[in-house]
């Protein structure tokens, strides 16, 4: 103690607060930079080890939850309600606001990163982003530890997904869905279908092709078509440059009309795009809306990518327990099967296939939902990139997107 504290309880309290805030201010300066530049940097620099701390959990008194997710990513009925979510609300009394406001990992991260770095509320108590982005959030210390005791159904998690290198044992994250990126086409306009990535460059499709703004999916497919095994560590800048050259040429020639996030679905509906590098489940949803099998999805012969979207709870959320209750609910095999039957993505929940075989026989053999070993052998996980490669590859990919 530097000096005796005053006797008066109120003044004593104030002095203690002042000392605390001094400490934390110094802390902040250390994290963000030095001296005067801290002000300029505070908004940009991730705070590193002295990063945000979890806020107090008020879940027991505050029965609400906000969940941000991607489009067409949860079961939906004709009235626009989410049946599994309604059942969850009835069961637990937790009122869930389900926001469909994620279109692209980078864009969503760009929108909330300052709040994440400061440990403030981001507008969502939990959200599902793709594993490479989750790896970044965990590396930066932006997300809370999950309490396994509140998620007993975690035992249903597919063992292959339990120990990713970014979060061994899934202490801070839990998968929502996995899926493929592959080729999709309009069966009326492209009756012959697509088998290879190169089929997208057919002059007949000129200006009617979109590819995903998700670098790992679009570049992953092109790399695979050039014979690169994207899951191995034996490739790098040269292979990437060769693949970027293909993308750049097709963009410059006007063959590719757009590099987009989930928005490509609107282009499919409006007719602006008839062939695409797309995500597996979206096509089923579009077909359900059209009422018949207007579009088709397939993995290219040279292979597709396999990715996973993962739940996390940001430091600024005071409703972590509610989020854990939600995760636990979606790890019930019955619920997981119901979601899978609608979203058509690969569920991470063991036991869902058995339920589906009984209740939704039409999907139990669907390779896009319950893939066999053979299907999985044609789907590849994009290898983890070190920070330098990650930034260099993204910068290149973005340069092509901007037509520079």
């Amino acid at each position: 103690m530097p000096s005796q504290l005053p006797q008066d309880p109120i003044i004593r309290q104030l002095v203690m607060q002042a000392r605390q805030s001094q400490l934390s201010r110094r802390h902040l300066l250390q994290g963000a930079g030095i001296g005067a530049t801290a002000l300029a940097l505070a908004a940009c620099a991730p705070a590193g080890s002295s990063g945000p701390k979890p806020v107090a959990d008020t879940s027991d008194s505050d029965k609400t939850l906000t969940w941000s997710n991607w489009p067409a990513y949860i079961d939906e009925d004709a009235d626009g309600n989410y049946p599994t979510l309604v059942a969850f609300e009835d069961q637990t009394g937790i009122k869930v606001e389900y926001k469909i406001d994620i279109d692209d990992n980078n864009t969503y991260y760009g929108t909330i990163k300052d709040q994440l770095a400061l440990g403030q509320a981001t507008g969502a108590d939990t959200f599902c982003l793709t594993d490479w982005m989750i790896a970044r959030l965990i590396r930066f210390g932006y997300v809370q530890d999950l309490d396994a005791a509140n998620i007993p159904n975690k035992k249903n998690l597919a063992p292959a997904l339990l120990n990713p290198d970014y979060d061994p044992g899934r202490a801070k994250s839990l998968p929502w869905q996995n899926g493929f990126a592959g080729l999709a086409w309009n069966t009326e306009q492209v009756p012959g279908g697509l088998r290879e990535v190169n089929d997208l460059w057919d002059p007949k499709l000129k200006g009617k092709v979109t590819v995903l703004s998700e670098m790992r999916d679009t570049m992953g497919l092109i790399l695979l078509s050039q014979g690169v095994d994207i899951s191995k560590a034996d490739w790098g800048t040269d292979e990437f440059a060769a693949a970027i050259a293909v993308l750049e040429k097709q963009v410059q020639d006007g063959q590719i009309s757009g590099i987009k996030g989930n928005e490509y679905m609107q282009d499919f509906v409006s007719g602006d795009a008839i062939a695409a590098i797309a995500w597996s489940g979206d096509i089923t949803v579009l077909n359900a809306e059209a009422g018949y099998e207007k579009w088709k999805f397939a993995l290219p012969a040279s292979g597709g990518t396999l990715w996973g979207d993962v739940f996390v709870v940001p430091m600024g959320s005071p409703r972590k327990k509610n989020a854990e209750t939600l995760m636990n609910y979606y790890y019930e095999p019955e619920v997981a099967a119901e979601v899978a039957a609608w979203v058509n993505y690969i569920t991470p929940v063991v036991g869902a296939q058995a339920v589906a075989a009984e209740k939704y026989p039409e999907i139990a053999d669907n390779q896009l939902i319950f893939p066999s070993e053979e299907t999985l052998s044609n789907a590849h996980i994009f290898r983890g990139l070190d920070s330098a490669d990650d930034q260099a590859f993204n910068a290149e990919f973005q340069r092509v997107q901007l037509g520079a």
Binding site: A40, C44, S257, K260, G271, D272, S387, L402, G403, A404
Partner: protein, 304 residues
């Protein structure tokens, strides 16, 4: 009412105050504080950021203080076309907006004077689009111009558009979107200056044997010049930094990206703050020079 103020050219009151009162200085303080906090501080931060360099072996979005002019060099290396496109699109949009807005403002401000109710209705109609989000309106245009739309199929069957031609994602749709979105900003200041146009000047013109055309060019246009100048500035400046219309999600495509799209994408998607900041600073500098030149040639004394 801000528009009326921008367009006003009344110079009857004596503009030089006799003495600087202390109250006036005090009243100025909130404005100064506002400028300092919300303009100067971010500007300094932006300029500082624009010369930062990546932290060696750092993670995504980590930069440190430096004097790294390489960020500015990158503009010349890759992004000059985007600058040029931004300038060209903004000039085209300003031109077309003026072409559409002037007759509109003239009708509302001069011809409709006899019917104040009609004038009010027309003005409301000009402002009405503001009640719907700018993004939604632009998305609606995207749907109207999409490949399977009625508009495109009619244009194709009339051979105005080739059978595989598109409207969305072209220069046309981007300039169209910019023009459409900025028409109210052009119309209102011109209206404000035309609304005060003294019709007796026009009568005097015809009494002096000037043709209607020459009266228009030599009387009406100079008298509405303050409105035209404010309108073109209010259109050109935001249009040149716009990143909505030209974005692939709205009316643009890879081929139509403007400098605003580059800045947006570098700030929010790949976290390359220094280059994004360098581009913002450069864009600001270019606009300041252009606008200063424009205002100097059109004459400031009528404006202020």
């Amino acid at each position: 009412m801000a528009f009326a103020a921008l367009g006003s050219a009344t110079g009857t009151a004596d503009r030089t105050p006799l003495k600087t009162s202390r109250v006036a200085m005090l009243l100025l303080l909130p404005g100064l504080a506002y400028l300092l906090l919300f303009f100067l501080t971010p500007l300094v931060s932006l300029v500082v950021t624009s010369v930062e360099q990546p932290v060696p072996f750092g993670d995504v979005g980590q930069f440190q203080l430096a004097f790294n002019l390489q960020n500015y060099a990158e503009i010349g290396l890759h992004y000059l076309p985007h600058f040029a496109r931004a300038g060209l699109f903004a000039i085209l949009a300003t031109f077309f907006a003026l072409l559409i807005s002037y007759p509109l403002a003239y009708f509302i401000g001069v011809k409709a004077r006899r019917w104040p109710a009609l004038q009010a209705v027309l003005l409301t109609l000009v402002i009405a689009p503001f009640f719907v989000s700018f993004l939604l309106r632009t998305l609606a245009w995207k749907a109207i111009m999409s490949d399977d739309s009625t508009l495109v199929s009619v244009l194709r069957s009339l051979s105005i558009l080739p059978s595989d031609g598109h409207l969305t994602g072209t220069w046309f749709s981007v300039v169209f979107g910019l023009t459409y979105n900025f028409i109210p900003f052009m119309t209102l200041p011109i209206y404000a200056s035309l609304e005060r146009l003294d019709l007796r000047y026009l009568e005097a013109g015809s009494d002096l044997y000037a043709s209607p055309a020459s009266t228009f060019w030599r009387v009406t246009v100079p008298l509405s010049a303050p409105g035209i100048v404010s309108g073109t500035l209010l259109t050109f400046i935001p249009a040149s930094g716009d990143y909505i219309n030209a974005s692939s999600s709205f009316l643009g495509s890879v081929q139509t990206q403007m400098i605003g799209n580059v800045i947006q994408s570098k700030f929010l998607e790949t976290e390359q703050y220094p280059t994004a900041a360098a581009m913002s600073v450069a864009l600001m500098a270019v606009i300041v020079v252009l606008v200063a030149g424009y205002v100097a040639t059109t004459g400031t004394e009528d404006l202020l």
